[in-house]
């Protein structure tokens, strides 16, 4: 065991943790005045972590050793891929945050520090190859998330969202922990490799319970049906920048954990978990699509949309093949861009007093008043609906291709047919913005000018999901494939 190598592989987490602790001190003494500075330094730290991870990945082809700390931790291409995505999403979320809270006079440096700790936790989650590491990372990330959800302390709904998230999240963590204890009990091992080796052949009832509980706990974290109930409430109640974050980075981390858990630790028991994942996938697609119909609140609609998207992600996972995992990773990248883009667009929909336009009625006729914003939302919505030539289509395409290649034609057919239901509410955005007249001249609220940072994030996300994104497919496909293959490589 070479400690130097271990520290090198865990460098991104160590650096981020050190930066977070340092910034905590800065906030403690600097107070609210230092908030902007802390945010900027946090973004810089995340950029550093991104660059570091990318550099390790670039050498990665020659990385003979990916295991660190006696098999507790691994930085393979898969972990690197997920981490880059997590860091970039977190950076995007941090960039759009300060303005929102500053208008309300409640911005504090702790926000950025919590995001950094969250990033550390998520990094550990995706690198974990041992149940212990996984749990520590998961809790670090979750606990920071609970606080973030209730960050707007004087807002009842934010506090409610935080409390709901905490209670239900703690329950899910409990279920997960219970499942882990069962798995440990029946395999005698906490390391993924050990579990994989022990879980061959017939799956015993006890171990099966363990697998089911672990999957249930993780399904909560990715908000897959039937563990999705918290999502609309928390997403709606939490401040919009926090919702943007919840819908992107932690979800990416949780999906990555779920993938490593099922494909690597439970890799020999495909038939044990495949039907669970298939059910969760189809149920998420259908519930995510039906639930959004009839919602008036834009944030709730997008919350259901994220449930819906998780369903498509799980179709990739359900195949249990490297192609499926690769498709899932491609989907994650595109999903991150779409979801961050659409939530940032919501964030930009505020009137002059800083009150958000939160319902469909509020954005009626937006195309007349704010054409650029309306066109961006139009592209994002059609992309979420998976209509070509937007890049969201490619995400669904690769997932269904993997499903068809794995002979899951029925799953693919049902999934894609259900996606049409989802299209109904995505095009409702377009209908409201483009077809409807504003509710009435006096009732129309003026949409405030948005800061450049918001526009930058929105435009980058929109360009990525525009047809131009297809030009990236060769690289995106190659990276996803590499990452997926590394997931299947036994150390």
């Amino acid at each position: 065991m070479d400690f130097g190598l271990s520290f090198y592989l865990a460098g991104a987490e160590i650096g981020l943790a050190a930066a977070a602790l340092l910034l905590l001190l800065v906030t403690a003494w600097g107070g609210q005045r230092a908030a902007r500075l802390v945010t900027i330094i946090s973004v810089a730290a995340l950029v550093g972590a991104t660059a570091f991870t990318a550099a390790v990945m670039n050498n990665g082809a020659g990385l003979a050793q990916t295991e660190a700390f006696f098999g507790l931790y691994r930085l393979d291409t898969f972990a690197g891929f997920a981490k880059l995505l997590i860091y970039v999403s977190t950076i995007a979320c941090l960039i759009v945050t300060p303005r929102y809270f500053e208008r309300r006079g409640i911005y504090r440096g702790e926000y950025a520090v919590l995001m950094l700790f969250n990033a550390v936790g998520m990094g550990m989650m995706v690198s974990a190859v041992d149940l212990m590491t996984l749990y520590i990372g998961l809790e670090l990330s979750s606990l920071s998330s609970y606080v973030l959800a209730s960050f707007a302390r004087n807002d009842m709904r934010s506090a409610e969202a935080g409390l709901k998230y905490f209670v239900l999240g703690a329950l899910a963590s409990g279920i997960l922990l219970y499942g882990m204890s069962l798995v440990y009990g029946f395999t005698g091992n906490t390391s993924y490799a050990g579990i994989r080796a022990a879980l061959t052949g017939e799956l015993g009832t006890g171990a099966l319970f363990g697998v089911v509980f672990v999957l249930a706990g993780l399904a909560f974290k990715v908000s897959a049906v039937p563990f999705h109930m918290w999502t609309p409430d928390v997403y709606e109640g939490a401040p919009t920048p926090v919702t943007t974050f919840f819908a992107s980075a932690p979800k990416i981390a949780a999906v990555a954990v779920l993938a490593r858990m099922t494909l690597y630790a439970f890799g020999e028991q495909l038939f044990g978990w495949q039907q669970i994942v298939v059910f969760a996938a189809l149920a998420s697609i259908v519930v995510g699509a039906l639930g959004a119909i009839g919602q008036e609140s834009l944030k709730r609609v997008l919350a259901y949309s994220s449930i819906n998207n998780v369903g498509f992600l799980l179709i990739g996972l359900a195949t249990g093949t490297p192609a499926g995992a690769s498709a899932m990773l491609t989907y994650l990248v595109i999903y991150a861009a779409m979801t961050i883009g659409s939530f940032v667009a919501l964030l930009m929909l505020t009137d002059d007093d800083g009150v958000p336009l939160s319902t469909f009625a509020d954005i009626a006729g937006l195309a007349g008043t704010k054409p650029a914003l309306a066109w961006c939302i139009l592209l994002l919505m059609f992309s979420l609906a998976g209509i070509p030539p937007l890049f969201g289509f490619w995400a669904k395409f690769v997932v269904f291709q993997a499903a068809v290649q794995a002979d899951l034609v029925a799953l693919a057919a049902i999934g894609i047919a259900a996606s049409v239901i989802g299209a109904f509410y995505y095009i409702k955005f377009v209908k409201v913005m483009f077809f409807d007249a504003p509710a009435g001249a006096e009732a129309t609220r003026h949409v405030a000018r948005s800061p450049a940072a918001h526009w930058a994030v929105l435009v980058i996300a929109t360009l990525f999901i525009s047809p131009l994104g297809f030009l990236l497919t060769p690289w995106l496909g190659a990276w996803s494939n590499q990452a997926a293959v590394s997931l299947f490589t036994l150390a």
Partner: protein, 519 residues
């Protein structure tokens, strides 16, 4: 053509012009749109002139492996060439028809039409099955906006119906495509057209494609989106919908269903013939009782498309050629009829048939054009409709004389509803003072209608110009289908060819009567 990627260029011109239209005011947007569509028409003519009839099956091929999983592969055969010509020919008229009718958000409107043009050309030129799907589906977005933003009173309902109906039809086709590519190992359309899928799998694949193309076509009973969409869409939207979008369904059948799944196609011949027969009788009767001009023409479109599907599934050269000519002819004629409706709609802002009457008195030139297109729609000899209907029905007759009999009633019914429409609009008393005060065609409207009228007569009098580029492709398709073609009930006996043509003048003065007896 050297190395000039003419097809990519035809896609690029409207795309760039469309983006430009989004950024400028109404007036420059109109000019940019007109310019771009005219450039594309010019490029289309260049394409046609350089198309080597009887040469290679696929011409103007372009290939660039730009994407993972599929590639930028373009190319046309005669069938695709003719449909591209139809698209680029109709587009300038769409822009001109909207010149004065559209006053709000002109830039966005023109952009939507230009994007639409690029996507339509892409559909017909794509040589990669996934590229085809992308173009095919992407058309939903601009059309949804065109109907929803600039449509009539009930536009929201119509736009939703159009979008969801056609989307649901298409998604299963994607799964079928994924399966086919997985099995065949290639996504190239020419390669897939020669690949023999197992007959059992063909049934499912055929049904998945059928779901998509039947909705797009549209075939009875999944046609109900069409009247709604047509009535609510602005005039130019109806023209493009009837003129080109419906042809994507027929193109899909001829490019995918028939050559890729010949056995399944033969198996489902009766489904197609049955639906076509039902469609032609039912929708013709519905058309008879319409009060709304656009709705009447929309139902007549469904009836005409039924002749296309029947002709396609006749499995012989006449049927296929007839179906293709019908698609081209219907594209011109129904487009022109919608333009005719648009002309009087712009003046009186109603499509109610009863509000008009006696237009032949105050609008003689208009009445003349309207009559010509009415007759072409009925299929009067000398117009394109006659060639189309005659060939299709001759083809169907070889497969089933009963189907041909029922389908032929459609022509009689078509004469019924079209002439009834014409009589109520153009003849009789001038019932309303405002209708009587309408002025005749202005210069712009002349420019709109005259070229289409010329094309309709050209196709009616000398269809060879349009059939020649397609002849080789249709012959190849028939050869491919020959192994599965169902036996017909007509039992035609091929007569011995005459020494001379039937109307040859006898050279000897004494033999004049013998020559005439040979009729």
């Amino acid at each position: 053509m050297g190395g000039l990627p003419i097809l990519s260029l035809m896609l690029l011109v409207p795309l760039i012009a469309g983006i430009a239209c989004l950024l400028v005011d109404a007036r420059p947007a109109r000019l940019i749109a007109l310019g771009a569509t005219l450039i594309n028409l010019l490029l289309g003519i260049v394409l046609w002139l350089n198309f080597d009839i009887g040469g290679a099956q696929w011409q103007f091929q372009e290939y660039a492996p730009l994407f993972a999983g599929f590639s930028w592969a373009l190319g046309v055969d005669g069938i695709a060439l003719m449909l591209i010509m139809l698209s680029v020919f109709l587009m300038p008229f769409c822009i001109l028809a909207s010149w004065e009718a559209i006053r709000t958000r002109v830039g966005e409107y023109m952009a939507a039409f230009l994007f639409m043009e690029a996507l339509m050309i892409g559909v017909f030129a794509a040589q990669d099955i996934f590229l085809f799907y992308i173009f095919f589906e992407a058309g939903l977005i601009p059309m949804y906006l065109i109907i929803g933003v600039w449509g009539g009173d009930d536009r929201i309902y119509a736009s939703y119906k159009f979008f969801l109906y056609t989307l649901l039809g298409s998604v299963l086709m994607l799964i079928a495509m994924l399966w086919m590519v997985n099995v065949a190992g290639t996504s190239s359309i020419p390669a897939l057209m020669e690949y023999d899928f197992a007959p059992a799998a063909q049934t499912w694949l055929w049904l998945a494609f059928f779901a998509s193309f039947a909705v797009k076509m549209p075939m009875w009973p999944v046609h109900t989106w069409l009247p709604d969409a047509h009535v609510q869409a602005p005039t130019a939207g109806s023209v493009i919908l009837a003129g080109v979008l419906l042809k994507m369904g027929g193109y899909g059948f001829i490019r995918f269903s028939l050559p890729m799944f010949p056995e399944a196609s033969a198996q489902f011949t009766w489904l197609i013939l049955g639906l076509s027969m039902a469609a032609i009788v039912i929708t013709s009767l519905i058309a008879l009782v319409q009060h709304d001009m656009k709705k009447l023409i929309a139902y007549s479109s469904v009836a005409h498309m039924a002749i296309v599907t029947a002709g396609l599934f006749a499995f012989n050269v006449q049927g296929l050629e007839g179906a293709m000519v019908m698609m081209l002819s219907h594209g011109l004629v129904s487009g022109a009829l919608f333009l005719c409706v648009g002309v009087i709609y712009d003046r009186l802002h109603t499509r109610e048939i009863a509000r008009y009457g006696g237009l032949a008195i105050n609008m003689p030139a208009y009445a003349l054009f309207f009559l010509l297109f009415t007759m072409a729609s009925i299929g009067l000899p000398g117009t394109s409709g006659f060639v189309a209907e005659f060939l299709s029905l001759a083809g169907v007759y070889q497969v089933s004389s009963w189907a041909a009999l029922v389908l032929t009633t459609g022509i009689i019914l078509a004469a019924g509803y079209m002439l009834y429409l014409y009589a109520r609009v153009a003849y009789g008393e001038q019932r309303n003072a405002d209708a009587a005060a309408m002025r005749d065609l202005n210069a712009r409207e002349w420019v709109l209608l005259a070229p289409i009228a010329a094309a309709v007569l050209w196709m009616g009098v000398y269809p060879e110009s349009f059939l020649a580029p397609m002849r080789q492709d249709i012959a190849m398709l028939e050869a491919r289908l020959a192994r599965a073609a169902p036996a017909g009930d007509a039992n035609l006996v091929m007569g011995a060819p005459r020494a001379q043509s039937a109307n040859a003048m006898a050279t000897l003065p004494g033999a004049e009567h013998a020559g005439e007896g040979a009729h």
